[in-house]
């Protein structure tokens, strides 16, 4: 798979320093009404690495993920404080539109959500077409590139015009990953991307995550700690809206520094 994982032409990451963090989060608080769901989170997320976000339900991990591409703004009661920088650019700056942020920061959801009336190929290119790309050659090239990167090309190359919903659950999820990759994001956010999949489909998604980190910065929310252990380089543990502990995944899962992390990963609560 590695051979086909060449960065797309003009990929923004190629023009950035590989050593600086992809995301720099400072003092991030998110409120829904008066409820503070995230509390003054400071975290640097490494570029071209997989960062797992773990924590019990309601700890704020999905809210954190959504804040990275401003999706929490879809909730009218939501309010944020603090700062998130994407390769130095403040994504909450007044002159930055949420749509542009979401193009740079793609999202894959827990439940695969291909557009049901569109074909496989149309699903991949929908983002490009919404961005005004009409050139058939570019659309065809990008379809193949994205499906190859999502490790789906060989399975669908002969039926690109079939409805997307004819695919299996695992294939649909990889199609959603291909769709997110087609607009050449810098960061890929994944909210429990394999929680609805069987073990084999889960393994394919995890293998894909590890391959994709060569070219992308990946942040994955998961309830499955073994998945975090298998797929991620760094792990952040959230609890009650606070970032309790953040460090190399091996350290978090063999010798966490905080008792709350130890209790969570050993199943004593959560």
């Amino acid at each position: 798979m590695a051979a086909i994982l060449k960065p797309m032409p003009n990929h923004p990451l190629d023009q950035k320093s590989g050593s600086s963090p992809a995301l720099t989060v400072r003092g991030l608080s998110i409120f829904f009404g008066t409820h503070e769901v995230l509390k003054k989170v400071d975290i640097d997320i490494a570029a071209r690495a997989v960062t797992a976000i773990i924590g019990p339900s309601g700890c704020g991990k999905s809210t954190f993920l959504r804040a990275i591409n401003r999706m929490h703004e879809l909730n009218p009661d939501a309010r944020m404080e603090g700062e998130i920088r994407l390769f130095g650019d403040n994504i909450y700056s007044r002159d930055v539109e949420a749509v542009m942020v979401r193009r740079r920061v793609g999202m894959v959801f827990q439940k695969s959500n291909p557009f049901p009336t569109m074909s496989i190929a149309e699903n991949v290119t929908v983002g490009l077409r919404l961005n005004g790309v009409r050139d058939r050659r570019i659309l065809t090239e990008r379809t193949e590139e994205s499906l190859r990167m999502a490790a789906l090309w060989d399975e669908v190359k002969d039926r690109l015009n079939d409805p997307a919903i004819s695919l299996s659950g695992g294939q649909q999820q990889r199609l959603c990953i291909a769709r997110a990759l087609a607009v050449q994001p810098e960061v890929l956010l994944m909210d429990e991307p394999a929680s609805a999949l069987d073990p084999l489909a889960t393994q394919k998604i995890e293998d894909l995550i590890i391959e994709l980190k060569k070219d992308y910065t990946i942040v994955i929310v998961t309830h499955n700690m073994q998945q975090a252990a298998r797929s991620s380089d760094a792990t952040a543990f959230f609890y009650l809206g606070e970032l309790v502990e953040y460090g190399p995944t091996t350290k978090i899962f063999t010798n966490p520094a905080q008792k709350r992390t130890e209790d969570y990963v050993t199943g004593r609560f959560g």
Partner: protein, 218 residues
């Protein structure tokens, strides 16, 4: 209410302690058989080694079952350390068997007229085994660390005995066969101390998540 995983961990710990107690008894009895020239006791130690081997298989099976539940953090360290402690205990049992075999052979021959401090060597090795297991039970990293340098004292005493026996063999060639038995028995006690040291190092890993093996050799 404890969850099933915690119950499984506790059973693993209990089983390991039973095995440890068997291994300690085997060493004690083998040394007793050697010093008291007790043929029957030597045979008993050899027969009982099967029980220690069976413990090893059972504990490995329990640990593998726990690993299928993908434990993490201190639970993960405990299961992996239990497997290593178990392996060291099995080898302690093997060394006891070797001592017992020499005890059996020596019991049938006239004693060698040489003053050997084998009881002290045995006592040092046994105390190391006992204290390393206590440190495991109590998760006492400091106690475990204190055991490790004592292995050098055991090595030194074994070397001393080896030299004394070599000299005796040169002066009394008719005792070579018997002296070789004593050399092997002393070497087995030295190996038992090595295994105790290994267990102590595993206890440090269990408590501190620090792998200190081989570092002290630098």
């Amino acid at each position: 209410m404890d969850n099933h995983f915690d119950i499984g961990l506790d059973e693993l710990r209990q089983k390991l302690l039973l095995m440890a107690s068997r291994a300690e008894s085997a060493v004690n009895e083998s040394v007793q058989a050697l010093m008291q020239r007790n043929h029957a006791l030597a045979l008993k130690v050899r027969a009982d080694d099967d029980i220690i081997d069976a413990f090893e298989l059972e504990i490995d099976e329990m640990a593998i079952q726990l690993l299928t539940k993908a434990p993490l953090a201190s639970n993960l360290r405990l299961v992996t350390v239990a497997m290593k402690v178990c392996q060291n205990l099995e080898r302690i049992g093997d060394e006891a068997t070797k001592i017992a075999k020499r005890a059996r052979d020596l019991a049938d021959e006239p004693p060698v007229k040489i003053v050997l401090d084998l009881p002290r060597l045995a006592s040092m090795a046994l105390v190391m085994v006992k204290e390393s297991l206590d440190a495991f039970v109590q998760r006492d990293s400091a106690a475990a660390r204190a055991i490790i340098p004592r292995d050098k004292e055991v090595d030194a005493l074994n070397r001393e005995m080896h030299n004394a026996l070599a000299l005796h063999m040169m002066e009394h060639p008719e005792t070579i066969g018997r002296c070789l038995h004593w050399i092997v028995a002393a070497k087995s006690l030295e190996r038992i101390a090595d295994h105790a040291k290994n267990i102590a190092e595993e206890v440090v890993y269990l408590c501190e998540a620090q792998d200190i093996r081989h570092h002290l050799k630098k």
